[in-house]
Subunit: 458 residues, 2 copies
């Protein structure tokens, strides 16, 4: 039933936008485990990280105590291009499902990069620019992060070198062209441009690449190029910090109308969107001010939280990055080729891993055919064509709303709609043509990569 | 210089949304010429049109006197999914150009259909549903209209049959898949499904189709199927009526901050966006209440206003549609295959044609390489990846802003940014690779199709 006092879209005014990011780690009793030097297995120091990341981002990465970081005015100005993002009441979806649940989604796809990745991309590019750097390097898989970073770099006249997983480079030429439109150089990975790329190509001549391999190349390129640093679109604590803008806005908008969500749902690959969306709500829970159910949704084909182990692991294939403690499937794990739905990183943000390990958050995994079914249903009812990644959250939101229908409970559900699916039509086509297969790794398969986890004594 | 009292984006609240469309024809002294029966050359009567269009839309099409048509509540509810659309102050573009001009754009790409076409799609689908019809038929070229209509029909559980120009069907499989996601059936045109399609295929076995041919098929399908009507995304007066929501919102937002544009710019293919954007401003001009410069921007490769003739012409290739008086290149005219920038219809809305003929509006034509140059420049500064169609308006807005730089004039420019370019990356790729060619038809070439104009005595 339409409640006229609550608009279809809740937009905040510019003056209601957050002026500081919220650092969830400050309220965590059990802090996330520190990054370790892959050689010494000692916690990484700021000086060691400074060769890879900008100084300000190193500070943000290592700071587990400061609750709020001011958002620089220049970044807030950029945010105004697409923020505050709308919080939408899914009246139509509720009606079609016949559920008494009230469903809200925070839509982060209303910028040309098409996803929430831009929130952190502009921050990372800004600090690089401020430090007087020439440019940044990064990797991209499906292309959302590379697109967002290219856009941010164009805005700041910063050079942007993207290593794109080779199979994506070939299968998603349009993603590549968007990045080029924004002025980025895009290299298929593995490439002959880096030592690690050459090594991987020598060992696996026919490889079509992986995210872990592209990360290794981008990091090597950054540390060996004068005036460059590496930037990453997920997993890191600094990224979750920047993405807190999603949750802060959502909370302000809900508070404005006196709405308290019962369940908060986000898709989870590396954890950037989920960590950002839940941040201020989880903060309340950690401080004992309120309670919420949090649900991380991951693909059944890449189930790091639900079937991984909580351990130190490599972040990349070339093992040039620090070690991170996280729920992981092992850095060797690569989801089946038929997996089309994004969220294919082998590990999960250390912050979210710790929260999950502490029982503060739930996790579920969903099959991709069910994800696309939810995506299409959502497109036809709410009008937005969702990214496969985002559709994981839609799937679970629908499932929870259907449970409410069965029990008659009027729960309030909030989920993150992270982006649009314009560049994922090949996957949609497979789904329409009945050619989409589900893949769930067997325990034996998972054991192979798990057995290769580094042995760390901490 | 950033004026803090004017936000980057001006959003209206839901309560500020227009509740009625504005019918510009009511204020025109010289009314647009009537549609003619192609057999008798007499003005089309409502009864004749009722086989093709829904009753309510026939009324809107023929009514040159009623100034306002109430927007039904159901359509206003749908509009709330993506409207009010933002009016954006291009602070960043102004700064980069170093112009004293103040540039605003009304962004209509912030819905999943990706363009302004949805404004009329939902209206036409709504009236079809209300009349108890089973479905609608239409044609689509680049795919913006087909996408919008599919989305509207999904919302209303209405069947949607789209005839897609064959070369687009093959070159733009992703557009096709978006329409399928929304549940539409998409047929490459010409097809063997219609008599006119069979005839065209027999005469031109290797043809890759044209907009005019797809229109003929869609109309035939509608009039020969029980419970179906035909709908069209541009050219018609009813479409301009629905699209007036763009101009009405823009005007409300500008008035709110006491801003009066000097120049209003829109791209022009069939005229739907331009006619909608300028409607309330042109109304003021017609009533002598205010003055504005209006500029229609068309591709140099399909220059109906700047190089066409004002005459009665066929709207389609199969000549099954009524005749319309318009600036036209002749219904046989097909822009060069290397033209990538949309806006490829041979004629222009009768309303806009009349206004242009009366000297109330200017028109310019621009080359596509210059259009893509402006598009890329805009993407890198304003962050939005524009559709090639929209980029025609960007090109001219930039040109006018640069003139202001030369003269020092602080003019206020408003232009329509009709959509996003996610599905146009093949064209962007050509541009990046330096493979984009410009094509300007010679006078001799234009003469060929012009000589085939029907001879009408009115």
């Amino acid at each position: 039933m339409r409640n006229e006092s609550i608009p279809y879209k809740i937009y905040l005014s510019e003056s209601e936008m957050p002026t500081a990011w919220y650092n969830l780690r400050a309220d965590m009793k059990n802090k996330p485990a520190p990054l370790l030097n892959p050689g010494t297995h000692q916690p990484m120091q700021a000086e060691e990280l400074a060769g890879v990341f900008c100084d300000e981002l190193v500070k943000q990465e290592l700071d587990n105590d400061t609750a709020y970081f001011d958002i620089p005015e220049e970044i807030r100005d950029f945010y105004k291009m697409f923020r505050p993002s709308p919080l939408i009441r899914a009246y139509r979806l509720e009606e079609k499902l016949g559920t008494p649940a009230k469903i809200y989604y925070k839509f982060e796809g209303n910028n040309t990069s098409g996803s929430h990745k831009l929130n952190s991309a502009i921050a990372q590019a800004y600090y690089a620019k401020k430090q007087g750097l020439k440019g940044v390097t990064t990797e991209t898989g499906a292309g959302q992060w590379g697109t967002a970073l290219s856009m941010a770099c164009a805005y700041l006249d910063l050079d942007c070198k993207v290593y794109m997983v080779k199979c994506s480079y070939e299968q998603k030429p349009f993603r590549r062209e968007v990045m080029r439109t924004y002025g980025a150089s895009v290299t298929p990975s593995p490439s002959m441009e880096t030592e690690v790329g050459k090594k991987i190509l020598a060992e696996h001549p026919g490889t079509t690449g992986s995210l872990g391999c592209a990360i290794s190349e981008a990091v090597e390129k950054a540390v060996t190029s004068e005036g460059y640093r590496y930037v990453l679109g997920s997993v890191l604590s600094q990224v979750l910090l920047h993405q807190s803008v999603i949750g802060l806005e959502a909370k302000t908008a809900l508070d404005k109308y006196g709405i308290k969500p019962d369940i908060i749902i986000g898709c989870a690959g590396g954890g950037s969107n989920l960590g950002g969306l839940i941040a201020p709500f989880m903060g309340e829970k950690l401080r004992g001010e309120a309670d919420y159910r949090f649900i991380a949704v991951e693909p059944a084909s890449c189930p790091s939280l639900t079937r991984g182990v909580y351990a130190y692991d490599f972040c990349d294939t070339g093992m040039v990055c620090p070690l991170a403690k996280m729920y992981t499937l092992g850095s060797d794990f690569i989801p089946s080729a038929n997996h089309a739905g994004g969220l294919r990183y082998h590990g999960m943000s250390s912050v979210l891993s710790q929260l999950y390990d502490d029982g503060l958050m739930e996790a579920v995994s969903v099959k991709q055919s069910e994800v696309f079914e939810a995506a299409e249903y959502f497109a036809r009812t709410e009008g937005i064509l969702p990214a496969p990644e985002s559709s994981h959250a839609i799937r679970t939101a629908i499932d929870e709303a259907v449970k409410c229908k069965e029990t008659g409970e009027e729960k309030t559900i909030l989920f993150g709609l992270t982006g649009t699916g314009y560049f994922d039509m090949v996957a949609y086509e497979k789904f329409h043509d009945g050619k989409m297969e589900d893949y769930i790794p067997t325990d034996a398969e998972l054991k192979i990569s798990r057995d290769k986890l580094p042995k760390i004594d901490v």
